[in-house]
Symmetry: C3
Subunit: 452 residues, 3 copies
């Protein structure tokens, strides 16, 4: 509690210093400012892979880590206070040991392949998940995760919604390892003896490894919660995957693949896959949408805003520059800002970025890029583009209103707005593109990632 | 953040001083206390028009302002923390420029006439709203508002439910004016050039007015977010109003008029119009009811309480005295108060008053009066009257229980309770009324407002 | 507010000291620690009957008291912040006077019999409730409670979900007694005269007892909110009970009895009765389950966890030892604890204990025992047992995974897990039990409470 207070105070000091450093605003649309702060270090919406995670567990087989609290970064995203994001990576032929947590999880496979087994009091369900597969793991469900591949690492991202406390959740592991104790060890000798109808020495030997631990023998306690599996063990586990022994399992509870459906936007610069609450009952239950977006190097996702969803974006592969437009943290104190603030960041693999609802954003792929996104508060969300032919909200404003909204005449404004003939994804450097199209240099690299 | 802390500290000091000033309680039912504090200055439920609003924008054509946070006034209404109230007024022949916000709005026309246009990526819907019309504007919807009348001011009240933060929301305007920057200006030169497929100089000229601004010419930037419209422009906008170009629009999404239905209570002292979540899908979605109440000068809305709704009352026309009964802020610290506190205020136009759920309240119209109300947490709310013939909860208590609940005999209590033969609205000074009815002085002024 | 701050500071100091005292963890599975702290005084989940309640009212006929705030005890149960628990006890032939509150209540009869009358503006509903009966009282409903028995005390527990503030609620009594004022007294003389169409002196005499109070006569104000009733009065009230004069009452709104259905678990050591949101619309509305559990002296409720429900347990009769396993308050600051903490308490009549979702728990009945429980966040909750034959989640983990999870071989682990042939309730001292079964000593005491 005292620690939390100190953390809070540090958070306040951090935010106070943020407000000062963001005091510079865009009166003159200064391009000079873009040079400074280019990695987005003081940007409250930017969560870098190397400095914004808390490692829960790490050994030679992989790691499990959780992102810092969103609501402690900026009041502008306080309504994310009930959400956390967890990243899990594991090497080939490994197992994340059985455990449960006091949080609902929405698990998504970013890379590699997994066997996910959900264990319930009346049976278990085992699924083989490929890249793009998503699955809700209800709070308190005991589960374990296998990376069955011989060569590929497994990378998983989980959205966590805790049940006992808005921000915190706890993993309860069944096994004692060097990294943590079995939750069964929390019970007293008497309770354990009566529960297992066995002598405590036997229980201690079989479940907790008392003797071997003392002997420091070769078969001592596991080094941690991610362990190696033999191929025979993996074969046995795969055999039972996808089949279900549990009663009353409906297809509603099964994993679904984000990348099996048709992209909602697609052209030569990018493809956008998305599943909304309307299309999937697990997502409806959580009020979350999920997206996976491929972009070509040099592509630009046109400026747009989400009408009501707060988006948590995770860079899966490649690099990008992002620009978000909103009030400054300092100005929000005064409830209404006169000037808009540009929040920039250069994103690379494993970085996160939060896009508040209604804040305009644009993304420039500086290499071939794949990013994943959770959209919180997703039901009936509409993506409002601010440029391009389709889904462009500005196109729908009548001329009479454009006339009085902008300094030029209505006709000139309409001409400017309608000049961009592409939609959603465009070339970030259109003139340069024309020059380069002569020798087709970049187009080749595009087809390799988009599979054209 | 530091500012917020100071604000919080000031808030605490303010509430602490409140507790002290409310230390006087009604042991003796002292009428003397009624004389003091008659404007309700220290009343945490009273939000005066002149001191409880923060102005977001103001020019010669109108203003936009937001009420102070409800939850910072008193812990007794902390559950209003996710709600804000916005007031908008504009002169004849004006336009509130296109913008969107990170909040759901429930918009109600208190006075005048408006053309409300909701712009979506796939089309727009334009409606003519008269007094009493209500419409939900979902978060992130771009919209603009015209006062098409040549003579009448437009007055609108909006309930705001922010999506990124419980208390705060931000308006995002498309145009740059002297009052605020266009959100499009937040993007860098490169992004804007690629998005509009145009040179930045052209974009700057057409959308932001760079040149003209520098020349200080006659057609410079608009003075603010409320601008004048020519009659031809208004005629063109009216032409398209009420027709819809948007796909899949159902009548559920259209505006509805509070005063078109039959009043739920009506007699010669007043009329109560109300739409509940059961009757309208937009209100069901927000769990809000809306009411509009006319009262004659000298009328009394009988003591009653709402079973579960927290009511935000806005005085539209006229003046009233209100009495609210609840625990004192000081006593609530001790979790149960022994004595009840009377919270009084004299309300006039544009004042707000919050009535917590279950707190008894009575309203005395000291002039002809119209007030509007939002009821938060409205589903299945029941209004329990404490006097009068109909809807009187005390009337339903059996005699045996009245007998032991009050000092007089059950019969005497029943006789007192049943003496008032009117319901809902009565004369605030019944004896004086009888005298006055001889020369029909006040009855004339009644018919003029109620249209009898 | 100042008081609240001081309370908060004290709370922080208390929690800080807790963290220190819980610094001792179970590295060595020390049985010695079990001896200390045996009453669970520093256990944040334990709410003792004598030190964790705030008395709202007390006289010779009974009392009304509310438990301390759950969320101020530990961050681990912060999501209980919107819930309070109220205990009501009354002597035979008494009445709790008519009142309403700004909270939804879920009322359960733990002992005795009650006539509950819900009064609404359009009628009233009167029910006779026996032990195990539950009934939702919607916020703002005026109600009164009679103990109609000549000999038995009435004991009621209420779950309260406040509507104006997350933590606080207020009772509004209709009558003035020595304990509190009538809310009607909060209105001014003028309002009361116009409302009741009567002279204030008459109102004061009939409703507030002005004259008699001054004379200090024998029929003065009631001593408090719990009053004696004559047998004739009770007979009259019983006559109308169970019949309903209210319009549109459906059976959905009527009380339901927890102990009328078949137990979900039952053997010679215990019986578990439960109604879930799926089975009852009132519980669905509140997202709460309710349980009533009988256990034999010496019985053990096997270690288990609730997948998502937070359980508030109330000891109704008898005594028990409870062991809860979770992270320590101190360690939770670091977001992940390496070691598990055992939270023990010895519970007796009227004590409460909170079991967070996903935290393993076991209960040992040290006398014949009956406890009641509210489960918050109940929909689709699953009880995962960690030992025993049925509903045991560990039984469903495949051998290959058990093999790598525990130090012993998969076969040895399975053998240990499957040794316990009973389910849910077992003998807490199985060897001792076998010895005693020779002379059938304890079995006799079992049948007396379970009615075998």
């Amino acid at each position: 509690m005292v620690r939390a207070r100190v953390q809070l105070l540090l958070g306040i000091l951090f935010l106070a210093s943020l407000s000062v450093s963001f005091g510079i605003v865009h009166r003159e649309h200064q391009e000079s400012q873009e040079e400074s702060d280019s990695r987005g270090q003081n940007n409250p919406f930017y969560f870098s892979s190397d400095r914004s995670f808390h490692t829960l567990f790490k050994n030679q087989y992989g790691h499990l880590r959780v992102i810092h609290r969103f609501d402690q970064r900026s009041k502008q995203i306080q309504n994310l206070e009930n959400y956390r994001v967890v990243e899990f990576k594991s090497k080939p032929n490994t197992l994340l040991l059985p455990h449960h947590a006091d949080a609902d999880f929405l698990l998504v496979v970013l890379n590699g392949r997994a066997i996910l087994t959900l264990v319930n009091p009346d049976g278990r369900d085992s699924y083989i998940l490929e890249q793009g597969h998503a699955q809700k793991i209800p709070a308190g469900t005991t589960f374990f995760l296998v990376n069955p591949n011989d060569n590929d690492n497994l990378r998983i991202i989980k959205l966590a919604i805790p049940v006992n406390n808005p921000h915190r959740f706890q993993n309860f592991f069944l096994s004692s390892t060097e990294a943590q104790q079995s939750y069964l060890r929390g019970f007293s000798k008497n309770i354990l003896e009566a529960s297992f109808d066995s002598d405590f020495k036997e229980i201690d030997r079989v479940l907790f490894g008392a003797e071997r631990q003392q002997q420091h023998g070769e078969e001592s306690q596991e080094e941690g919660v991610i362990v190696e599996l033999k191929r025979e063990q993996i074969r046995e586990l795969i055999k039972h995957a996808k089949s279900s022994s549990r009663k009353e399992l409906s297809s509603q509870d099964e994993p679904f693949n984000l990348r099996n459906s048709n992209p909602i936007y697609s052209n030569k610069f990018g493809r956008w896959y998305e599943i909304t609450p309307k299309k999937n009952p697990q997502l409806k239950d959580l009020d979350v949408f999920i997206s996976s977006v491929d972009m070509k190097e040099g592509g630009l996702l046109l400026p747009h805003y989400n009408s009501k969803a707060i988006v948590i974006l995770v860079i899966n592969e490649g690099e990008a520059k992002i620009e978000l437009v909103g009030p400054s943290d300092q100005q929000q104190q005064q409830e209404e800002s006169l000037e808009v603030q540009r929040y920039r960041a250069e994103l690379s693999e494993d970085d996160l970025f939060v896009i508040p609802a209604a804040y305009p954003v644009a993304i420039n792929a500086t290499s071939n890029l794949n990013f994943f996104a959770f959209g919180i508060n997703a039901e009936n969300n509409e993506r409002n583009f601010l440029a391009g032919e389709k889904d462009n909200v500005i196109n729908e404003i009548p001329t009479e209103v454009l006339e009085v909204s902008f300094p030029a005449s209505g006709n000139k404004v309409e001409k400017l707005i309608k000049k961009q003939s592409k939609s959603h994804f465009v070339d970030a450097q259109p003139e340069q593109q024309q020059r380069e199209e002569g020798h087709k240099g970049r187009k080749g690299s595009l087809s390799s990632i988009l599979g054209y």
